[in-house]
Structures are given as structure tokens and as C-alpha cells.
């Protein structure tokens, strides 16, 4: 046993070991908590992330450490939940059970907007490489442009686990800022007359089509991008639960309890990776900058591709729905609706924008799967 002196006792107090870095991280954590509670920006994630950041930066707390085989509490959540790739697929199960692919099935060509809105992923990938990040790190930063939190975390935890905190926080922050980031880009790239293009009501979609969709999607994606299977399989089985209408209990569990539990552990664990030593570096600022570039370019990619499609289509589509290709379901689709209504108060684009919106999730999964195929 160590000899007990007043000095040794004081040395074990958190307050004696406090550094300016810790205090800055508290401010960041509290800032995220403020955004979640006061501004309601992605509160389901920013609140637990913010709290995770706050508590993990209390010096000497046994939360994220590892002593031989023994791990501290949040380290256990992080290790078994994220490093073992358990939580992101569970979140996808819940998302699948919540997602209605009807608008996409009704107008399948809109799926291409979900592909074009991955443009920013690759622009940010090159941007990150030019700033000196390695391939795995650049891919993890680029995928922020897909605006899909669980996919970003899944990819970063595999290719660049040391960047997980800033990458995840950047992704969720920009997703919450979709209503601020996207409209100026959408207006800049479209004319008033394009924003007024009216889109007629979609056709009804049968139950059979909705049941066939998750099966064919699983087949195509797993044959062509097998690396995306953990996320795709969970996403599609959740959707099959929903559309089959015969396993209501499972659908409810996936949509509610399971998704909520996974969200809690995901948020707190991600926040807990953001210690002052790892986060307060110029690289973290660069990641935030590149994340913004990725997001903006993805938005532009979707809008410009919609305009390109209009060159070949008899019945024009409103290019504003292209921006919804950046996943961020359903906020990006709502932004398309709002900007569209400003140009033409009788033109409701929400359901049309939901097509590219859910297609964007699939597009990001494919992009992540391709990165994994090359870089794992």
C-alpha cells in the first residue's frame, strides 16, 4: 500500500490534474448539449455525445481507460459496441424498420440522384489526401459527405478509429445544419423557373413491390459490394419486417427500444472518444472544414445531376429534390420542400424528395463498402 500523505491525496483529485485542454473540451461538450436542448439540432445524438465529451474530460475518471484486460465503463461500450461493429448495424435495423421506400419505388429514376449526391464524398477524399491524411483517414473524412451517421461511424471505426470522435461529431453537426447549409447552394445552382417546376403526384405502390425491394436490394448490393453486407443486411431486414406487416412486435422493437438503446450507447461512446489529447489538434479543425466541403459538394452534385437528367427527360423533375440525395433523412427532403414552396407555394416536393433521400442512404452504403473493399 502506498504511504498516505496529504500530497498524494491531493494528487489524486481531478481538480489538481485539470488542464486548459480539459476546460476547452467541457466548453465543446456543453456547446453540443446547448445545441441539442436549446436549438434542437439532432438532439438524439448531440445530447449523449455532448455529455460523453463533458464527462470523459474530467481528469483521472475511470471511464475510457484500459488496465490490462480490464476496461472502464465507457471503454466497454466503445469496444464492444463500436470497435466490434455492433451498434451501427443495430441502428440500421431500426432505420430500415422506419423507412418507407414507397416514394423511391414509385419513381425509380430518382435513385440516381442518391448516387450523384455522393460526389462530395470523393471531393473531400481527395481534399483530405492533399492535406496529408492517409487513405483510410481520407475515406473516413470523405464519407461525412454522405450525411449518414452510422455509416460514417462504421467506416471510421474500421479505417481510422483514432479519428472517430471528430469525424462523427462533424457528420452529426452538419446533418443538423442541413437547413442552413443547403438552401444557399440550391438557390445558387438553380434558376427561379427551375425551382418552380411542378411535379405531379406519384403512382400508388403495391405491397408486393415494397416486399420485393429489400430482397432485391440485398441481392444486388451483397453481390456487388459484399463489404457493405453488415449494414445493408440489417437495414433491409428491418425494412422487410415493416413491409411484411406480419411481425409487428419485431418492427416495433426495432423502431423503438432497440434503436433508442443503440442510440444512447452510440452517442455516449462517440463523445467519450473526444478527449482533449486526441481532439484539440489542428487536424480536428481540418476534418470539420473538409466535412463542410463534402456536404456542400454532395448537395451541389445532387442538384446538378437533376439538371442534367432534365436534358433527357420529357417530364422534367424539379432540381431542388437533387439536394435530398445527401441522406440526412428526412431533413434534407424537408429542405427541398421548403425551398420549393418559396418558389411555388402550390408545389409540394416532400414526397418526391423522399425518393432521393432514401436512395442517398443506399448510395452512401455502397460508397463505404467500396472504400472498405480497397482499404481494409
Amino acid at each position: 500500500m502506498q504511504e498516505l500523505t496529504l500530497d498524494s491525496y491531493l494528487g489524486q483529485l481531478g481538480a489538481s490534474n485539470l488542464t486548459p485542454g480539459h476546460v476547452i473540451m467541457w466548453a465543446i461538450g456543453l456547446g453540443l448539449i446547448y445545441l441539442a436542448i436549446q436549438k434542437k439540432y439532432e438532439p438524439l445524438l448531440l445530447l449523449p455525445i455532448g455529455f460523453g465529451v463533458f464527462v470523459v474530460n474530467m481528469p483521472l475518471t475511470p471511464l475510457m481507460g484500459q488496465h490490462g484486460e480490464v476496461r472502464d465503463l465507457l471503454n466497454i461500450f466503445f469496444h464492444y459496441g463500436i470497435e466490434w461493429d455492433v451498434i451501427p448495424p443495430i441502428i440500421f435495423l431500426g432505420l430500415g424498420a422506419l423507412t418507407d421506400f414507397g416514394p423511391l419505388i414509385a419513381d425509380p429514376k430518382l435513385i440516381l440522384l442518391g448516387a450523384s449526391a455522393q460526389f462530395g464524398v470523393y471531393i473531400a477524399f481527395f481534399g483530405a489526401l492533399s492535406f496529408g491524411f492517409n487513405m483510410g483517414e481520407a475515406a473516413s473524412i470523405g464519407i461525412i459527405g454522405g450525411a449518414d451517421g452510422p455509416t460514417t461511424i462504421y467506416l471510421a471505426s474500421t479505417l481510422a478509429p483514432h479519428l472517430l470522435g471528430p469525424v462523427a461529431v462533424s457528420a452529426y453537426s452538419y446533418m443538423s445544419l442541413v437547413p442552413i447549409i443547403q438552401p444557399p447552394i440550391m438557390r445558387l445552382l438553380t434558376s427561379e423557373s427551375e425551382r418552380r417546376i411542378h411535379m405531379r403526384q406519384m403512382r400508388p405502390v403495391s405491397r408486393t413491390e415494397k416486399i420485393v425491394f429489400p430482397l432485391t436490394t440485398s441481392l444486388v448490393m451483397m453481390l456487388l459490394v459484399p463489404q457493405s453486407a453488415p449494414l445493408v443486411s440489417m437495414f433491409m431486414v428491418g425494412n422487410l419486417f415493416r413491409e411484411s406487416r406480419v411481425v409487428e412486435r419485431l418492427t416495433n422493437a426495432a423502431q423503438n427500444e432497440l434503436l433508442n438503446l443503440a442510440t444512447i450507447f452510440l452517442g455516449v461512446s462517440v463523445g467519450a472518444t473526444m478527449s482533449a489529447e486526441t481532439f484539440l489538434q489542428p487536424r480536428a479543425l481540418l476534418i470539420f472544414f473538409l466535412g463542410l466541403v463534402a456536404f456542400a459538394c454532395s448537395t451541389a452534385g445532387g442538384v446538378l445531376f437533376a439538371k442534367l437528367m432534365n436534358l433527357f427527360l420529357k417530364e422534367k423533375i424539379n432540381p431542388l429534390i437533387g439536394s435530398a440525395g445527401v441522406s440526412a433523412v428526412p431533413m434534407a427532403a424537408r429542405v427541398s420542400e421548403i425551398v420549393g414552396l418559396q418558389a411555388n407555394p402550390k408545389n409540394h416536393l416532400l414526397m418526391h424528395a423522399m425518393g432521393p433521400n432514401v436512395a442517398g442512404v443506399i448510395g452512401t452504403l455502397v460508397a463505404a463498402g467500396s472504400f472498405l473493399a480497397f482499404l481494409r
Binding site: 423511391l104 419505388i105 425509380p108 429514376k109 435513385i111 440516381l112 442518391g114 448516387a115 455522393q118 460526389f119 470523393y122 477524399f125 481527395f126 489526401l129 487513405m135 481520407a138 475515406a139 403512382r203 400508388p204 403495391s206 408486393t208 413491390e209 420485393v212 425491394f213 432485391t216 436490394t217 444486388v220 448490393m221 456487388l224 459490394v225 436512395a359 443506399i362 448510395g363 455502397v366 460508397a367 467500396s370 472504400f371 480497397f374 482499404l375
Partner: protein, 46 residues
């Protein structure tokens, strides 16, 4: 390194389009098969 990066990005972005285009085709086929049945149902409910 840059050659590799161009390959990864080029193939990756290409695969995104190919996979989603295949899904589009599969949805179109399913839609074409189901369209007469949906039309019949709609007619019946009128």
C-alpha cells in the same frame, strides 16, 4: 499514392452508379409487373 486514390474514387463512384442503376432497373421491372394489378384494383375501388 495519387494513382491509387484516383482508382479508388473512380471505381467507387462508378460502383455507386452501377448498383443504384441496377436497383432502378429491378424496381422498373417490379413496377411493370405490378402496374396492371394496381390499375385493376384502382378501377375496382372507383
Amino acid at each position: 499514392m495519387w494513382e491509387q486514390a484516383v482508382l479508388i474514387a473512380g471505381v467507387g463512384f462508378g460502383v455507386v452508379f452501377v448498383v443504384l442503376a441496377l436497383l432502378m432497373a429491378s424496381m422498373r421491372i417490379a413496377g411493370a409487373v405490378m402496374a396492371p394489378k394496381i390499375a385493376k384494383k384502382t378501377e375496382a375501388t372507383k
